[in-house]
């Protein structure tokens, strides 16, 4: 994976990340994979969908599914949050989907060398990083999207 390679690099690998909150936890994804952020709207339920899939929405003619990251990551979401947003992301192989989060916090320059790996690479979380004394999880987008489209990323 790219993150892994970056980790191996000697030079500082600064990646601009977008930081968002789910419940009281913070996560980030590379800002280059984000297409847009929009308010959460009503989704259309999909038959036989995994429990973390909220449903499908229409993004200017493209139909995409929204993943409830709280359910996906098994985190207690903020109670009664009417301002949840969907971060629309595009994976490397062109799959577009939405990530439902509680709120977007800010952007941060993260040196990939500072990321401490927490588990094997196929996990949805590639590591943890400290920014301003906050612990932020680095989300492995490709794994999440890979699971969504049904072919498990095994790398």
């Amino acid at each position: 994976m790219t993150e892994k390679n970056k980790e191996d690099g000697v030079d500082a690998k600064i990646v601009k990340m977008i930081v968002f909150a789910i419940g009281d936890q913070e996560y980030c994804i590379p800002i280059l994979s984000v297409r847009e952020i929009r308010g959460f709207e009503k989704t259309t339920a999909l038959p036989f969908a995994p429990h973390y899939v909220c449903g499908a929405i229409n993004l200017r003619g493209i139909i995409l599914t929204v993943i409830d990251l709280a359910i996906y990551l098994n985190i207690q979401p903020q109670a009664d949050n009417p301002r949840r947003v969907a971060i629309i992301v595009e994976s490397k192989n062109g799959v577009v989907c939405g990530l439902l989060v509680d709120r977007v916090i800010d952007m941060a320059d993260i040196d990939m060398n500072d990321v401490q790996a927490v588990s094997e690479e196929s996990s949805s979380l590639s590591g943890l990083v400290m920014v301003n004394n906050r612990m932020i999880g680095v989300l492995q987008l490709e794994t999440v999207v890979g699971e969504l489209v049904g072919d498990m990323v095994t790398e």
Binding site: T43, T44, A45, P47, F48, I57, G61, I62, I63, T65
Partner: protein, 745 residues
Amino acid sequence: MSGDMDDILQVFFQECDEQLQELERGLSALSDGDSDHETINAVFRAVHSIKGGAASFGLENLVRFAHVFESSLDGLRSGRIVPTHDIMKTFLKAMDVLSDLVVEARGGAGVDHERVAESHAELEAIINSDGAPKPAEDVVPQDFVPVPMDFVPVPMDFEPIPVEMDFGFDEPAATPDLVVSFRPQDAMYERGDDARNILIGLRDLVATVEGGVLSVTCDTSGLPTLHDLQPTRACLSWRVVLPAAVSEESVHGVFDWVSDVCDFSITHEGAAEEAPAAPAVAPVVAAPPAPAAAPAPVSAPAHEAPAAVQAAAPVHEVAPAAVTNAIAGNPAAPPRKTEQAASIRVDLHRIDDLMDLVGELVIAQASIEALSRRNEGAMQQELTQSISSMQSLTRDIQDAVMAVRAQPVRSVFQRMQRVVREACSMTKKDVVLLLEGEDTEVDRTLVEKLTDPLTHMLRNAVDHGIEKVEDRLAAGKPAEGHILLSAGHRSGRILITIKDDGGGINRQRVLETAVKRGIVAPDAVLSDDEINNLIFAPGFSTAATVSDLSGRGVGMDVVKQAILSLGGRVTIQSVPGEGTTFSLSLPLTLAVLDGMLIEAGESTMVIPISSVVETMMIDHRDVYLLPDGGNIISIRGTCMPLIPLAAELGLSKAPTQEALANAVILVVENESGGRAALVVDEIRDQTQVVIKSIEKNYRQISGVSAATILGDGSVSLILDVPALIGTAIRKIDNRSPNARTGLAA
């Protein structure tokens, strides 16, 4: 650099495809006895263009074959060869070989070299049989374009205009020049040739000489007044002065093709003697302001020609041509011109994108409309007005984009000629394929997807539909079988029929085979229609001998699947002894679908209307509960599974028996006639929806084929009816074999 070359090569292959189509069209017209000059020219031109292009890319096989093909066609063009049935057959075969060679050059499947050699030999036999010398192709410039192509139609209502033309040459030529005078006979124009070709030939000779100047004089003295003008008579003659450096032989070469239909003489003359060559004051037919569009046929190397000629040029150049056009009396020319002017190549993706955007526009405008209805106020009326004008605009744009994507079915239909020809040669039958309605336009994607099913059906028609020659004669039919392939629009759909005049479906044998293969129960009582439809059952093949062509067991069921996947339907009518007609009814486009909007489990879903048979309320007395909780409903004596839609899709719990009692059901049917009843909460509307892929950003969902966007911007699922029925029938099959009655087909 090589990238550029590849691009050019691609363009060449695209052009090849077009030329082959042109060739096919021309040869078909010729086979039908429609041999006018323009058709012959078009055929010749097509082969010639392929040859020319292939030569510049060094595609030797292609060039060699195209050359011999061209030479033999030249016999046809010059009238030495009469297009008999056999000769046309040879030409058609040669065309197939040629298109194979093009495919090979493109990097596709290799060709059967024996076949090439065979066709090559046949063509040579034609060339040699005409007894005429081989066309002087090496002498005559190959890039000529027969005249009618380039001419703007000339209105015939002009008056004779006396034009003073002084063609006195005051050129101080010391060496004796070569003077060529020629006068075409009527027969030359009848052959589709033109004096212009000779002039161009001479021009090109002059071009080889350093500083060579060509002087052309047209003698119009033979031209009668317009009143007496006979359009098919040749009245003009030309006098051309060439520089002495041009050899006499090469001039002879130019006249080689027309020596029998054109009087000509070559003399050497001093510049002084040739001066007063007929200062013709004659009614010259002048073309109206069109000359700009007409290419100057002779002027190119003649720029240094005497001023007098230059001054008269506009009239001079156009006049002979215009007259020639009239003389040749070729009505086919003008429309061809317009056809050519009106096409550009556009990447399909761009049009797809445009289509998507227009779809968005339609949706956006529907949601504005919905909003405006909600909003009360003074502006209400004006808002409604401007929305409705926007509505008609978006509809027009949608239609326009659809029209851009539309393509006549001709390209597919013409390919079928070849399919039938090959099927004929394999089965040793003589079948003529007649085409009708090739101009019917359908969406491009549909055109492409029609090829395979049609190929299959036509092969079947030749192989199984048309009887053997002996049988045909015994039945009092002509030995030659006929298949009619026609296309047309019927109530917003396209209807394609394949009609043969063969023996019709032998129902007895079909039924026996179906029983033998275990497709139907031995004691089943089936209607004629049901028996006809058995040929679409998987694994069915009646041909006693498995031929190369059909009878591989995958046949008509694949065809039916293909047509259904396009949202179409297939029906059969068959009269024993008179033939069989297959009718395919297809939607005009794959981007839009007619659907029924239904509510189930708090979701709005779309069911393709083509699969809905009827809608009704359940009568609870017709519902039978199966031991495991499933239900069967009997509708007018036919049993079918009852599918509670929302529960089936996992969107809600299974409904109670009471809830089922008065529910609304839709009877739906799959491709093989299997039926099921879908229980829905409500039927909302019937509408056209734009089909959107759901798999692109997600996975495949069982029971759902695609999605669409409704007027309010929300996503709605389009149900995959065959899959739903399939699952339901499989479930029941496992439970009780008795329930299969009425499901199998």
